[in-house]
């Protein structure tokens, strides 16, 4: 991936003063977030901290009460979700696939707004990258195992050729073996210049990240280099102490 001089100078995504919630319930309180080109940022925080809400607010799936979001120099607040996606943000939700569609249909929908020939070409590339999916391309995504479903949702998100991949708990519901596989795949994508924002509770994903943010009670409690996080005593105890190994209990 190549970047223009302006893109190298300014961050890929800059969100400031985000306030959002559901109905009368405020979830995010003045959240700031920056992601540089080809940077991987991990978003940590306990359940209910507002991680999913933050991701959804960036995508426009949750209405923003206040704040501004800039992506590649463009303001995103007034745009619909699909318009934001077309600007180069791919979103991988916890569900991630359409269970009533086949693997191939899911994958091709990932490139819904690309020209038909481009979709074919990229689908072939992704089948090479995700060989498990090729033989079963006619199978309904709903019949896949959790791990295969995650791989499909990753392939589907990557289909559009995004600049930023936003992921909500990619480890959810996966066995440790599959978590390792997902991490390996993400490292490969990151190595190719893809920026990432990963909301996670599984600390195995920390190795991918250059920077980490901790969200608690809808506020950013820490934002900085991963090494700074690892050296911070209090944070280390509250995050690393509790979860040293990949979370296998939820599989």
């Amino acid at each position: 991936m190549s970047f223009s001089a302006a893109e190298r100078a300014s961050p890929l995504l800059r969100a400031s003063g985000l306030v959002a919630g559901y109905g009368p319930l405020q979830v995010l309180w003045d959240v700031d977030l920056e992601i540089g080109n080809a940077e991987c940022v991990i978003l940590l925080g306990p359940n209910g901290a507002g991680k999913t809400t933050l991701l959804k607010a960036l995508l426009g799936l949750v209405a923003l009460w206040r704040g501004r979001i800039e992506f590649r120099g463009q303001r995103l607040e007034g745009q619909r979700t699909d318009q934001r996606v077309r600007q180069g943000i791919a979103y991988m939700s916890e569900v991630g696939v359409f269970p009533n569609l086949s693997i191939e249909e899911n994958l091709k929908l990932g490139g819904y707004y690309l020209p038909r020939r481009e979709v074919q070409r990229r689908a072939q590339e992704l089948y090479v990258m995700f060989p498990d999916l090729v033989q079963r391309r006619g199978v309904l995504a709903g019949s896949l195992s959790g791990g295969q479903r995650k791989m499909l949702s990753l392939a589907k998100a990557f289909m559009s050729g995004p600049r930023l991949l936003v992921m909500d708990e990619p480890s959810a519901g996966l066995s440790p073996r599959y978590v390792k596989e997902v991490i390996a795949t993400l490292r490969q994508l990151h190595g190719a210049g893809l920026a990432m924002l990963i909301a996670e509770q599984n600390l195995g994903f920390l190795e991918l990240a250059g920077r980490a943010c901790i969200l608690e009670g809808g506020r950013i409690r820490f934002a900085g280099d991963r090494t700074a996080l690892e050296q911070d005593d209090i944070l280390r105890r509250s995050y690393f102490g509790l979860q040293e190994t990949p979370d296998a209990g939820r599989d």
């Binding site: 996606v85 939700s93 991630g96 269970p99």
Partner: protein
Amino acid sequence: MIAYTLLAGLLFGLYFSLVALGLNLVFGVMRLINLAHGDFLMLGAFLAYGLYSSAGVNPVYAIPAEIVAFVLVGVALYYAVVPRLLSSRDPEMLSFILLFGLSQIIEALAVIAFGNSQRAIPATVFGIRPVSLFGQTFPAAWVVSAVVSAAAILAVYFYLYRSRLGHATRAVMASRDEAASTGINVHRVSAIALGAGLALAAVAGAFSPFMLGSIEPDMGIGITTVSFAVIVIGSLGNPLGTVLGGLVYGLGLMLMETYFPSWADLLPYVLLILILLIRPSGLLGKRVRLA
């Protein structure tokens, strides 16, 4: 006798599939029951009647006009109402009130515009010779209606399963949020689906004079009820499940009219209660539905 009843049941079954197909398509995409479905069918019937009485247009040739007119109506109705409806606090309840009101308004306006008298298109537009099927003879109008219905069902199949737009439509059926974050313009896809749903109702309306009796402005509510029964029997939210529901209903109707004619009007309600007791997710449903 029984062979005639069963074959007639299949012809009517195909037709009732078409009658209900649009309702199920709209429910699948928008998760709301279009209570004005039958009224749009009525409007489609009056459009066909108008084209026939003023210019002698055969209902089969009226189909393109029906499709164009009602796709436009559906798309306009979608953008006028649905986005605001879906962002309201209680879209389900609000949609019931709104669509019930729309149904009443359409009916009232139709009474003003067309009067309360019954209209008909003579079945002789399809010729006076009956058609012979497997040794039984049927009015040509029944066979034409069934053939048109089968063609419309096939068209819906190709739309949903063989086109890019159809894949996006099924994606929206699975989850609006997931579809939007895949880059699909959910509003555009839904607006087209509502247009297609109304167009299907209107095409069914063009053949209603031959299959449902005379055309009148207050025919809508009864048709909405029958359509609802058909899609619940098949599978709510699964458009092609409608075909199974339609066939069950058509066969049931013909059997009732042959053997218990005075009870035939009760059929939709009886079938609805039976299916809800025995298999609440519909004959093709996999699990109890959530919506």
